[in-house]
């Protein structure tokens, strides 16, 4: 099942796996736990999404009305657009930067574990604390970054200027998640056998050619994961803008999760919020599937 990449071919480590449906006994606990924590709630959402719920005893079947309403809602469209722009922006910064950082880490030596631990740190900080850190770091009155930028002559205030708020969020997301890409890429780089480099050296390849022709193809697997993880996680972003900007100023940083949470918990619009949820989930699945199949198909050609 698990492919190990050797050259261009995908070779399975345990190529022979006996076929037995008794193996279902092993996966049964997982199926039960995930069914309890995912399938039941998801069915509830589907059920809500086709009803108008006035209170828990008064409800009407409305079919796909909420879905149509959601797709027509200009605020949904605006939040969706903001979401796509934000996700693409952080992806285009984090993936190249992550690779560059991974290439800078010494492969072996005494400093390597320290660098790795330092890199892993932002991933282990609770998301609202990440936002809190950036809040106190970027504030124009007490933050190092805010005061620093203002001292350089630019009038920076992320709580009042929509563009500044957006840029601060991007900077925070890059700070928070580039480490994930870097650690994945580093893991991929260390898995490249030494002879590959020696062969490239014999052929007189320069650094760029080594990167382009030796390293990048071997990083493909981990980079697919990195992009997939960042794509779905950035699409779900909620806590960080909630704490840092609260979706403002105005609606400048209101992304999909934020809008959904306002609808579901704030206004308690069960039906529309449920339809929104289903559309949201389907979009994430669609994007991940599009990315995955396009990469795999190009590989087959």
């Amino acid at each position: 099942m698990w492919p190990l990449q050797t050259g261009k071919k995908w070779v399975k480590v345990n190529s022979f796996r006996p076929r037995t449906n008794r193996a279902w006994l092993g996966v049964l606990p997982v199926v039960l736990v995930v069914a309890f924590s995912a399938v039941i709630p998801l069915m509830t959402v589907v059920n809500y999404s086709v009803q108008d719920i006035l209170d828990f005893n008064t409800r009407f079947f409305v079919g796909f009305e909420w879905y149509r309403d959601t797709l027509d809602d200009p605020r949904f469209r605006a939040a969706f657009l903001r979401q796509v722009v934000f996700s693409l922006t952080v992806l285009f910064i984090e993936v190249p930067l992550g690779i560059a950082v991974a290439k800078g880490i010494p492969r072996t030596g005494k400093v390597t574990p320290f660098v790795l631990v330092l890199l892993a740190l932002p991933l282990l900080i609770p998301w609202n604390v990440v936002a809190t850190i950036w809040q106190i770091f970027a504030r124009p009155d007490i933050g190092l970054l805010g005061v620093g930028i203002n001292a350089l002559g630019a009038a920076y205030n992320y709580t009042a200027e929509p563009l500044h708020a957006w840029l601060t969020l991007v900077a925070m997301d890059v700070w928070h998640w580039t480490s994930l890409v870097a650690l994945l890429a580093f893991a991929g780089l260390t898995a490249i056998p030494g002879p590959f480099y020696q062969a490239a050296e014999l052929d007189g390849a320069n650094k760029w050619q080594v990167f382009r022709l030796v390293e990048l193809p071997r990083l493909r697997g981990v980079l697919i994961i990195a992009v997939l993880l960042r794509l779905m996680d950035s699409f779900m972003i909620y806590t960080e803008p909630f704490v840092l900007t609260g979706g403002g100023p105005g609606n400048a940083t209101t992304f999909l999760s934020q809008y959904l949470a306002t609808m579901a918990v704030g206004q308690f619009d069960l039906g529309p919020a449920a339809a929104f949820s289903i559309i949201y989930f389907l979009f994430i699945l669609l994007f991940c599937w599009l990315f995955y199949t396009s990469v795999v198909r190009r590989d087959e050609m």
Binding site: S37, T44, P122, M232, I278
Partner: protein, 268 residues
Amino acid sequence: MKCSLTRFVLVAYAIYLVLPLYWLLSMAVRTNSDIVGAFSVLPAAPTWANFAEIFSNPVWYQAFGNSLAYVTINSLISLAVAIPAAYAFSRYRFLGDKQLFFWLLTNRMAPPAVFLLPFFQLYSAIGLFDTPIAVALAHCLFTVPLSVWILEGFFSGVPTELDEMARIDGHSFVYFFLRIFLPINRSAIGVTLFFCFMFSWVELLLARTLSGSSAKPIVVVMTRTVSASGMDWGVLAAAGVLTVLPGALLVWFVRKDLVKGFALGRVA
């Protein structure tokens, strides 16, 4: 390898990485009036008052206990169900195995915001609302698929000859699994624990929705402090520093296996 450009990127990035963390630390050792009153890059009069406030106020330290409780429960559940499943996926083919594996991964893509309301109602209905168990079970939504994913990668790297040899030696399957197979995969389990901890510890949305007053986790206490009586930046920063510590300790223990864990987390 002397590559000045990549080294430069690394150093610049390291500074970018450390500055906000440094600022958090420096805020944590300053009093609130000092923070608001005057801007200074180095703390003029460092004080432990903010940390003392957290360790003496039950709201704060109980919240830490609550968080550790659900993270621990979650990690144990995730490992207990994921280990047999990962073994089954790595050793056997069975009806619907590929579909099941993919379905597990799609749960990793579900936005937690989608599950807010149903979770709230589900756990209220079965009387688990406002307990660490509710949050632990809810977090299984993403920790279980992830654990299966990582463990399957590690288990597939162990040759099946090992299973064969144990059987020829006359060991029972249970003995083989508990006394031979799991000890061999110690580092795999360590790495999986690390990832479970990481994703459960950092999550806020579900933890906040599923906890009322008695099981309030630390991340929630922090946001409520923000919105309530003004801003006490110093205490907030000190709490932030304390929430970073468990992760930092854990990552130090698994640092040798960390890269391996990332390398094996591949899409099947």
